[in-house]
Symmetry: C2
């Protein structure tokens, strides 16, 4: 069988990390990279950690030049957070008869906030005989799929608390700005009011993924809250700095109600240098049910590596899937790929023969 | 849509618990129960916790009388631990064109120890257009599927330790005997040598499920060890008693090697009244990889409820699956069913229309 052929669209921290990961794996190769502006015409190896060595070069190109009909088995689309922004790119790729895995948070469960676009993506994918999936560490695994899996050993579920306490220290300037690191409480509150602080994108997707999976019908719109984590001491991370009294993080919560009762709660405080103030990071799954579940993974799965791994590791599942829009709850579980990618692909599902 | 029709074969602790669970759920009904001996002709309600109330009665019958062609959408087969013992029953059910979920530990991954029978089950299932799955709490979820899921956010996996420290106190006389509770160390060691102590069945299945899922080829046969847990104090559980100096539990380990290196270790000490000696029970997933995973669910998911829930909760997945033998790694993740079973079944996959 031909190696599994991958095109990466967007060579930022996520797309670049996926390239590095793929270069260590067997039976898979990067056949194209889509970029923009000054990146066009440069080598992929100028933008990632892995040295080129004696590998064939991969030159960054424009979407129209790189993504041609059946040019690859899958495109890893790493450019957006929102379905609406990713839609035209997904449409373009699908019409070239190539499968898509998107790291856009909303794409993890696009029916939550963009039901019309989700239907249209499903229709386009089926029409072109390919599959589309959104995934990542969160949404995609920690605050939703892992929770759903653990309800699998429950006779009854009364309520769910999904908590992710994580460090933002490894992230770069863009995340520092999105989360309000270093600004004053006043500036933070203004940002919340004006909707300019992004915070975490994904509660709507995680809550709907859980409620749909276990068969709860939400009785009210999903709500969320956003509070500053004010630091008592100066905190400094590679790309962030928060003076004592200012904002060192952003604590978000999300709420899903069934018959007027709070059934699904998301609790996601993110901050720089949590260990400096004795905060233990971790991923928590707390299910009030029969039986109760009281699970913690500590420290938390790092967001960057986790998203990179989830997107790459789901490649076989999305190639093998029936045509259409998929989510993590209708595909076989993600898993690390320590062998040859080709061993996991069914012959008839392969696009590049 | 007609309700999802279920036949339960074997009305012991597991089958009976599944009946109780199903009676609380919507869109599903028990249309038959298969039993033997003195149970024949009695009411199902004589053997389970749920009172009959004004429900229609279900009379325990012989296999040939209850399991007729397309009499149900699925049979929950709760009679055996070993594939070889369950095989004739699975063959009988499948030839009546009904899906099967088996709680037999070896059936969780029958290709591990019975590759020929696994092939034959797959062939028979395909020939008859139905599906077969083995599942339970362990093997089936805690020491394998959960581990596999967590490797999904890993770029690399170096080694895996899967540990389940659980209490045997809720279990009855059969489990006390299988695990050697209350016997002397001498008797225990004799039982190990002569192969009369069952201990935990499932390491071969869990290790092969993990290694196949992530693409490790085992380089040596799977090995396991079995040691007595000797108690310093008298321990007493509802069905077990161990005098100080005697056996209060059974500590099993399993080992999977890749290229001569220990890559997958299973550690599963089971005992009565662990809290009496300060042992904290729990389910642990420890992955040495990129990133590391360090997860614990404490206390452990109870084995009985967990197995009951897993078998019932996988009913939609096995009805919807393509014909053939399936395992937990090729189906969508298990989840609690808090809504109507029919909402989860695809019309064309339903057997009893």
């Amino acid at each position: 069988m031909e190696k599994v052929k991958v095109i990466i669209m967007g060579l930022g921290a996520m797309g670049g990390g996926m390239a590095d990961m793929l270069l260590k794996k067997q039976g898979v190769e990067i056949v194209g990279v889509v970029g923009r502006g000054k990146m066009l015409g440069t080598s992929m190896y100028d933008h990632i950690s892995t040295p080129r060595g004696d590998r064939e070069d991969v030159i960054v190109g424009a979407m129209e030049d790189v993504i041609t009909e059946k040019a690859a088995d899958v495109v890893l689309l790493c450019t957006d957070s929102f379905t609406r922004k990713a839609f035209d790119k997904i449409k373009f790729i699908v019409e070239k008869k190539i499968n898509v895995i998107s790291s856009a948070e909303e794409m993890a469960y696009p029916m939550a906030q963009e039901p019309e676009l989700a239907k249209e993506i499903d229709r386009l994918a089926k029409e072109n005989g390919v599959s589309v999936l959104g995934t990542g560490i969160n949404p995609g695994l920690i605050m939703d799929l892992l929770v759903i899996l653990m309800t699998g050993c429950c006779e009854e579920v009364h309520s769910i608390l999904s908590r992710r306490v994580n460090s933002l220290s490894p992230f770069g300037p863009a995340v520092m700005e999105e989360q309000g690191i270093g600004i004053t409480v006043e500036e933070f509150n203004k940002g919340v009011q004006e909707g300019t602080l992004a915070g975490h994108v994904g509660f709507h997707e995680s809550i709907r993924m859980i409620s749909d999976a276990i068969g709860w019908k939400l009785s009210a719109p999903i709500t969320q809250s956003m509070e500053p984590i004010v630091t008592d001491v100066d905190r400094k991370s590679p790309y962030g700095f928060a003076k004592a009294g200012n904002v060192a993080g952003c604590a978000m919560k999300g709420f899903g109600y069934v018959d007027g009762e709070l059934k699904i709660e998301m609790d996601h405080p993110q901050q720089i240098e949590p260990e400096q103030v004795g905060v233990q990071t971790g991923d928590y799954v707390i299910i009030n049910g029969v039986p109760n579940i009281n699970m913690v993974n500590s420290p938390e799965v790092p967001g960057g590596i986790g998203t990179i791994a989830m997107c790459v590791n789901m490649i076989p599942q999305i190639i093998n899937a029936r045509p259409g829009l998929h989510t993590m709850i209708d595909l076989p579980v993600p898993r690390a790929i320590m062998g040859d990618f080709r061993d996991l692909i069914s012959e008839e599902a392969k696009i590049v023969k």
